[in-house]
Each structure stands twice: as C-alpha cells, then as structure tokens.
Symmetry: D4
Subunit: 165 residues, 8 copies
Amino acid sequence: MEAKVGIVMGSDSDLGVMEETAKVLKKYNIPFEMTVASAHRSPKRAGEFASTAKNRGIKVIIAGAGHAAHLAGAMAAYTTLPIIGVPIDSSAFQGLDALLATVQMPPGVPVATVAVGKPGARNAGILAVQMLALSDPVLADKLEENKVEMAAKVEEKAKKVEAYQ
Amino acid sequence: MEAKVGIVMGSDSDLGVMEETAKVLKKYNIPFEMTVASAHRSPKRAGEFASTAKNRGIKVIIAGAGHAAHLAGAMAAYTTLPIIGVPIDSSAFQGLDALLATVQMPPGVPVATVAVGKPGARNAGILAVQMLALSDPVLADKLEENKVEMAAKVEEKAKKVEAYQ
Amino acid sequence: MEAKVGIVMGSDSDLGVMEETAKVLKKYNIPFEMTVASAHRSPKRAGEFASTAKNRGIKVIIAGAGHAAHLAGAMAAYTTLPIIGVPIDSSAFQGLDALLATVQMPPGVPVATVAVGKPGARNAGILAVQMLALSDPVLADKLEENKVEMAAKVEEKAKKVEAYQ
Amino acid sequence: MEAKVGIVMGSDSDLGVMEETAKVLKKYNIPFEMTVASAHRSPKRAGEFASTAKNRGIKVIIAGAGHAAHLAGAMAAYTTLPIIGVPIDSSAFQGLDALLATVQMPPGVPVATVAVGKPGARNAGILAVQMLALSDPVLADKLEENKVEMAAKVEEKAKKVEAYQ
Amino acid sequence: MEAKVGIVMGSDSDLGVMEETAKVLKKYNIPFEMTVASAHRSPKRAGEFASTAKNRGIKVIIAGAGHAAHLAGAMAAYTTLPIIGVPIDSSAFQGLDALLATVQMPPGVPVATVAVGKPGARNAGILAVQMLALSDPVLADKLEENKVEMAAKVEEKAKKVEAYQ
Amino acid sequence: MEAKVGIVMGSDSDLGVMEETAKVLKKYNIPFEMTVASAHRSPKRAGEFASTAKNRGIKVIIAGAGHAAHLAGAMAAYTTLPIIGVPIDSSAFQGLDALLATVQMPPGVPVATVAVGKPGARNAGILAVQMLALSDPVLADKLEENKVEMAAKVEEKAKKVEAYQ
Amino acid sequence: MEAKVGIVMGSDSDLGVMEETAKVLKKYNIPFEMTVASAHRSPKRAGEFASTAKNRGIKVIIAGAGHAAHLAGAMAAYTTLPIIGVPIDSSAFQGLDALLATVQMPPGVPVATVAVGKPGARNAGILAVQMLALSDPVLADKLEENKVEMAAKVEEKAKKVEAYQ
Amino acid sequence: MEAKVGIVMGSDSDLGVMEETAKVLKKYNIPFEMTVASAHRSPKRAGEFASTAKNRGIKVIIAGAGHAAHLAGAMAAYTTLPIIGVPIDSSAFQGLDALLATVQMPPGVPVATVAVGKPGARNAGILAVQMLALSDPVLADKLEENKVEMAAKVEEKAKKVEAYQ
C-alpha cells in the first residue's frame, strides 16, 4: 500500500527513538516509509526525499534528529507538506540544542515541533494521524476511541496508587 | 462562512502577536474564529472551545499563550483535532517558560509547537493551511506559489545586499 | 477519617517521588487521599478532582508532574483551595521544563511551587501541614518540635564531620 | 487591626513589585504589615521578623527578593509559618537566579514559590488569602466570587478580540 | 578582482551585523562577494551558492543567520571549503538558539563558529584572513602587524583608565 | 593548634566534596575546623559559627552547599571575614542553582565563589591559603613552589600524550 | 602611596562597571592602581601585570571582563596572589558567558568570583578589603562599622516601605 | 615529517576526546604534534607553544579543554595562525561552560569553535584539513571523495532502517 507518512531520521542510531513513531502508525494502520537522510551528510538525498514526497503520495513528513537538528527544517525548505520535527537528545546538551534548532524556524517555513526524545516521537505519530484524520472520518473515530482508552488507563493507574499505604 | 481554524489566546494582550496568524489565514481566505480563553482563569470556557470545535466545523486549533503556557495543552486534552501551540515571550524568561510548557507534552497528547513570538505566530497560520491543503488541491497549489514567491523575495533582498559597498 | 489533603500525580510512575509527600503526612497523622489524574490524558477527571475537593473536606491539594507539568495549574484553575506543585524531573531537561511550567502561573491563579523531585515532594508535605496548622495549635506545636529535632540532627551530623581526620 | 500577613522585601527598590501583593490583600481586607529586611545586610532583623511573627499574630509571611534571593529561605529557617517566596528579576539574569535561590530549598524547610516579578507578587497575595480562607468561610466565599469574576473578565476580553477584523 | 571570500546571510536584516565582516575584509583588501540566501526560504539558491563557490574561486564562506540558524550548516553540506558561522541574536532567545544551531554540527560536517552578533562577525572576517594567510606571506605579515597594533591600542585605553580618579 | 580556617557544609552528605578542601589545607599545614551547619535547618548554629569565628581565631570561612545554597551567604551576613563559597551539584540542576544562589550576592555582602563541585572545593582551599599567605611569607613561598610543581606536572602529562600514536 | 590592590579590566568600556570597585577602595583609603589589559589582545601585558604584581607591593588583583572572560583566569595563571573576578554583562548572553568563563576554573588555579556587573564590582572591592583586613585590625574595625551602618540603612529603607499605604 | 597541525589539550584526561582529532589527521596523512599545555597551570608553556608554532611549520592549532576553557583563546592571543577550539564536557555543566568560554571571544581574536565533545573533536580535524586543502589540491580532492563516501554511508544506514518492520 502506498505510504502516507514519511519518517526520516538523521542517522540509524536514532532508530531507537523513532521506532516509537512507527509503532503508533502501525497501530492506526497508516502505511509509512522510513529511511535515513542527513541534512548535512547527504543534503541532496534529504532534499529529494522532501521534494518528491508529495508525488509519492506522502501527506506528512516526520523528521527526527539530534545536535544542530536541521533535518526537519531541511524537509520544510523543499516541500509544502506539513513537517513534524522530533528533537533527539543525543548530544551533551540533552536535546536543548536539537529543540531550539528544530522549533525556532524563521517566518514562512514552519516545523511542527514535539517534545524531546521518545515522548515526542510517539506524539509525532499521533499528530500525523490527527492531520490525516481531517479527511478520514474512520481514522477520526479511532482517535476518539483511543482518547477514551487513554483516560481509562489513567483510572487503572489511579487504582494502583490509591492502593498505596 | 463556517470557520475552519480556531485561534485562541490566553489574554487580549496576546493579540499583537496572534494577529500575525490571522493575517496569514486571511491571505489564504481561510475562514477562522478568534477569541480569548484561559486555561487557568476560564478553564471551562477553554475546555468547551476545544471539545465543541469539531462539531462547529473547526479543523485546526491554534493556541497562543505566555508564561506557564498551558492553553495549547488544554486544547489538546479536550479534542483530537490537531493543535498548534505558539509560545509567547511575555514573561521575564523571554518565552523559554512558554516554549517548554507548550512543547514538552507527555506521550498521547501532542501539540505542534512553533517558534516563540511573532515568527511562530506567522508559521502557525501557514502550518494550519498546510494541514487543510492535504484535502484541498487549490490550497495546496497556492502554498506552492507562495513558496516560489518567498524564494523570489530572497533574490530581491540579495540584490540590496549585493549593492552594499 | 476524612482526607484533609489530596495528593494527585500525573502518572503512577511519579509515585516514587510523591510517596515522600505521603510519608510526611503520615508522620503528622494527616488523613490524605492519593490518586492519579492527568491534565492532558484525563482532563475531566483532573477537573473533577479539583472542583469537588472542597466539598469532600480537602483543605490542600498537592500535585506532582513532569514534562510540561500542567497538573498543578489545572487544579488551581478549578478550585480556590491552595495548590502545591511538585515539579518532577522525568524528562530530558531534568525538571527545568516541569519547574517553569509549574511556577510561572499567570496572575490570578497561584501555585505554591516547591523544589524539583524528592526534596520538593517532602517539602510539599510539610508546607501542607503548615497551612493546616494555621487553625490547629496541636499541629503547630508538632511542627515546632520537628524544627527543633531537625536542628538537633544537624548537630549529630556535625559530630560525624568533626571526627573526620 | 492586628496584621495577619507579613510582607517583607530585601530592599525598598523591590516595592514596585511587592505593592502588587499589598493591593491584593487590601482588596480582601486582610490587615498586613510591610517592611524591609535583608537576609544578608540585616540578618538579625530578618531572623527576628520571622521568629516573632507568630506571636505578633502573623499567619503567613510573603518575602520578595532578587539576585541570590535568600530572604524567603531565611524566613523559613526561623518559623514554622507558611512562607511564600516572590523571585524578583532585578539582576542580569532576569530572575532565574532569584527563582532557583527561592524554590530549590532543601528538604525540611519549604518555601511556597510563585512566578517571577509582578505576576508572582499578585499571586503571592492570593495564595496567602487562600491559606487564611481555610479557616474563614467568608473569605473562602469571596475567593469563589473573584474566581467567577475573573472568568467573566476573560469573556469581556474575548469580545474585544472577536471584534478584530 | 575575483572574490576570495563569500559572505552570505539569511536575510537583508542581518546586514547590520554582517557588514562588520565586510569591513574587516576591506581593511585587508580581500575581494569578497556578499549576498542573501536562506537555507529555508531559498534552499536551492543556498545550495548552489555553496556548491559552485570553489569553482568561482571562493576559498572561505562566512554565513550569518539567526533563529534556528541552519545557513552555515547548509553551506557545509554542499562544499568542502571551510565554513565560518556567525550566530545572530535576532530572536527572543538572544542568540542561544542561533549559537547551538550553528556550532553543534554532527561529525563529518564542521562549521567554524564564532561569537554571537557583531563581535563574532568581526572575528569571522579575521578568521577568514588567517586561513587565506596560510598561503600568502604578505597577508600573514599584515595580520602580525595588526596584532601588534591591537596590543598598542590596549595601552592607549589603559592610559585613559589610569587617568581615572 | 588554633584553627585558622573554618570549613562548614550544609549536610554530612557534602563531605565527599568538601574533603578536597581539607586535603589542601592539610598539605599546607593550615590548622582548620570542619563542621556541619545549615542555613535553613539550623540557622542559629550557622549564625553563631560565623559571628564567633573571628574571636575563635578563624581568618577565612569556606562554606559548601547544594540546592538553593544559602550557607555561604548566611556566613557572609554574620561576619566581615572573607567567605569562600563552594556550590555543590547535588540537585536535579547539576549545580546551576547552587552556583547562582552562591555567587549572585547583593552589594555589600560578598562571597568569593569558586567552581561547582570537587574542582571548586580544591580551589577553595588554595584560595584560603592565598589569603593567609598575604601576611605569611613562608606560606607565600610554598604557594610559589606548588605553582612550579603544577607546571612541571603538566609537562609529565604532556609526555604521556606526546607518546600517543 | 604604594598600591595594594590592582584593578584590571579587559577594555576601557568596562570602566562604568569597575569604577564601583574603585569607589569602595577609596572609601576605605586603600591605595590602588587601575589599568586595562586584555588576556586576548595584549596577553604579555596581562601576564606581566600579574607576574610583577607581588613585587610592586600588590596584595590582591581584581579583574573585570565580559564575553569569554579569561582575564581573571589569566591573572591567576601568573601569580599566587588572590584574584577576584568580576563577570561583566556586555555580550548577548547577559553575563552568563562571563560568569561561567570566570568561575569554572580548573583545580589548582582559583578565581574568587563575585556577582555579574555592578553589584559584583562593588563586592569585589569589599572582598579585597576583607582580605587586607586579615592583617590590619584598623581596617577590620572599619569593616565592622560599615556592616553596622549597612544594617542601619536597611532600617531606614524599612521606614519608607512601612509608610506605604 | 614536519608537523602541520598542533593539537594541544588542557590535561591528559582530555585525550579520550582529542584522539578523535588525531584519527582524522592520520586518515588524511597530515603530520601533527600533540601535547598538553594548560592556560592556567602552565601559561608560559601554552604561550610558547602558540608563539613558536608558525616557525615550527605549524599551520593550524587545535585546542581542546573543559570547564572555563581558556586554552584555545590563549593560543589565539599568541599567534595569528587559525585556532580551532574544542569545548570538552568534563564539568558539572556538560560543556556549556566550555562552549561559552571558547566561542564568545572578543573582537580581534577569533577562535573557530566546533561542537562539544567527540563530535567536535572529529570535526576539528576535518576543519583543519579543509584549511590546509586551500593550498593543496590533492588534499582538496581527498576531502571531496570523503564527502561522497559519507553520503554513501548514509544510504547504507538508510537500508538498515528501511528493513525495520
């Protein structure tokens, strides 16, 4: 099935974080492609990934990178598809560099930035589903169901804590 | 015409920043509604704005707030529509508090965060258009045109700088 | 016995920190309830916890959360009881995000914020006791006794260090 | 009438911030005393202010200071009354130094810290009222009324913003 | 005369900072070209500027940008010429975002980063001259002379301060 | 022999850091006393330690503490002896809180602050010796000798590195 | 009269801050010399200032600098006299760079660091006097008197604030 | 063969980081010398290393240091050769102190700063090669080849990630 979401990361060492995104998309049965492209080490590959994405049927691109994390911005430079950026905490600065390099985009070229690391990678997947659901009522219903489940899980956790003596 | 984007801000003092969002939506002829709701001072109003948005025809919510900026997160808690968060630099910490309070959402509840202040407000508008364009080819074309124009403007600016002696 | 303090945390994974609060309240024989509610995953549960607290006899609410820690602020939005916020260092930013998201509340909706992590959780318990002691002279005396004991413990520790060669 | 709240600040130059606290207390008709004491320049005065407060009838102490803001902690060292700390942004670090020096108290000696600067000073006043209201139902009702008014004001502000074209 | 240094900036609004670089190069009679290219708004222009630079005779590229400052990194991605990055403090974060986005490059793609703002822009010029002087003894001598002059100016300034009463 | 330097720390858990200070003083045969006093848990003990120090023959006080590290400032409040502050990285903020709380003293009450943790503790000892050496030529000579030794050790280390292949 | 304190600053533009130090020394009738030397622009001058200071009769060196403030460290490298460092907030980072570059000295080479900017400059003067007073009882008495006066001034300020309605 | 690059580090404990630089230079067959010199513990050795470098045939100096990392700046003070600074994360502040102390150089004395820690050390080597390649076409070709290889490696990594299920 044609991929609707493109996941791209700066290095294969980021896979441990970005597979959280993949898991979410699998859960929602969203076909996706996942690869490596570096804004700095393979700029043409990165540019092509972004500039051909729309024609490949991609609707949303999710880019995860650490350090001076330019990957999401590089995607945004080459396409008008919505780009989601996941800052990864792989440097000495625990992701502050990646967060600022991802979120502080200049006017005209937005990147939808999520939290640093695994929590952000998971949310990137959900955010992509939310975008796709804007024109897919079945997906939208599934999101609603999962929101209800999520609240239910909080109640389960609450019981554990309430049992604490 | 029915609003497709909801812009909400924590206080009317945030209008100076958030009107940048409104300008973008006007440029793209996207009908929008814009109001004030505070996650802390009027939590019910905020919750209702978010939980009724889908039925009102809203597709994307853009929330701008400063300080411990919970407004975008509060929207995300009450709806599965995509939420865009604009951190506003109205406190002593120049927006670092607003940025972290907006972007560092826990897994399950994403907020698409953009840059601090006016650049972010403008990008929030474009990001919303990008989401709507996923199912609106005319809008998608318009985004492409604007991207071309934007690159052209860079060339104009380049001429000014090249003339510098 | 009717609970006088409500302890709420964003996830059961925060229990390792928040049990420090529980220990303090037990030491002072303050009846308390402890549960999980998430400002983002179960906003209604969180809102109800806060808005019904006064009628349940709760005097003080203590909320512990990490990341974009909105839980204490969400409590403060729904009640006029004093709210104590414990920022938890569970993200890549070691609690700086949680601290700013908890303490930087806008005018009108205070959160009494304590230190990040376990030291803060313990102090949250003591601060709650101090508030209750305003109308309970026996409790006030007990706080004084403990303050004297605490100073005495410093002298014990001093002896250990003075013995260092 | 006997003061119930003690406001203390590190220097008279902090009055511009701390009068926000005074205004709140006046609004609620809470008698208060307000003075200057420095943890570093007049430590005995500071210690006496705190250690005699309870006998003077003071229920809550609010301390505002900038730089390495030790004043609130110094109050907490000398009394078991609840202490509210207001970090003031009077140094080159815009209040980050004052925030960390106020909130990061060691276990055993809590300071209820509020936001940096004027928003925090206002909230310090409300927090003090919330503590006093625990044993004063009339005050508790007044807090509820003000919370309703505050939400109403948000609606007024909303109208202004909704009128924006 | 053929340009030996390429100065590129993200926007014409950065000229106020980057003309400090130009002044240094003029002082050393280094022919240079100066233009605008945005890594995000005109990525192809930016890529071409870098990838054709060597053939145009350029030896060193100096890139100045603010916010999520990717321009220097984008240059480095397309050429093996040495790239000097000048972080510009044009955002709410006073250049911390630009500094981290410029300096924290991943292994394989260096950017020689200098200080934030005007002092960095001036040093970027000197650093470029130092690189060119490696194969130009006349230029090397001129750098030595200027170093001597600089020390002499310190002595002049010293006299002013020594005259202070 | 009468102690000339007073080492004080906020808790016996700081001994692992502060024994670095003690080792330096032993090396220089400076008699010292070392104890625990907390600015927050035993303020009177802390105040007395400082205010009686001069009469006990103490010339310099070295205070090490973590979190909202007020101990050095509390010493400085009670004596005109020079106070050296060692910020200890025992909180979630890795010593940034302790550094700012120690160094950002208001005008009139200086604290001579050294680096965070063990390097600072060692330097605190040397700084104290430097102060004592102002009126003790033998000690001054010993400092000079150690400076020469320190440079010699660098040469030894250099040999190791030079042997690296 | 032979200077006992050497004040050195990185540039004459730092005089506005460092004259606060001079004022304190004048008040205490401490003869001092004041000049400019840059660790980077005139390293030999800086090294000579430090290495000859002891023989010139200097007892304490006070060094003020901004940016990557190496001046105090450069002094400490060339002498065993106590060095006081004043970080100056003249860069985009408001003195955080100067503070860290001054205080984070490696083991063996201490710098007694004070607060950023004018408050620190004033405290640098007092700290120098405290060091000199270790062997000068008259100076020690004067420090005590000033400490008493300082506390008295707090009481004056207190009266102003107490008069606030 | 005569060394063309000088690698200097503040302590032998920095070798684990700086050998990344050495590996790069070996790969490119650039003869180099590597030693230890401390700006603070052996300032004369450091000054001599820098001031004699040009006559020894050195073209580029690479300096790695942690804490208040003055080593690169000290090199820059004594020579007009290009200096590359590698901030090392050996303190409690994870390299933020070293980064700011290295990069925030005052006008007139540039340091080409790279990323914190090992990624920066590797890039320092490449940057040095880029400078040498300005007058060495063989070296320039080798850099181009490696850039192509680097992009090829990204494609290998991409295959691994694309195989992820």
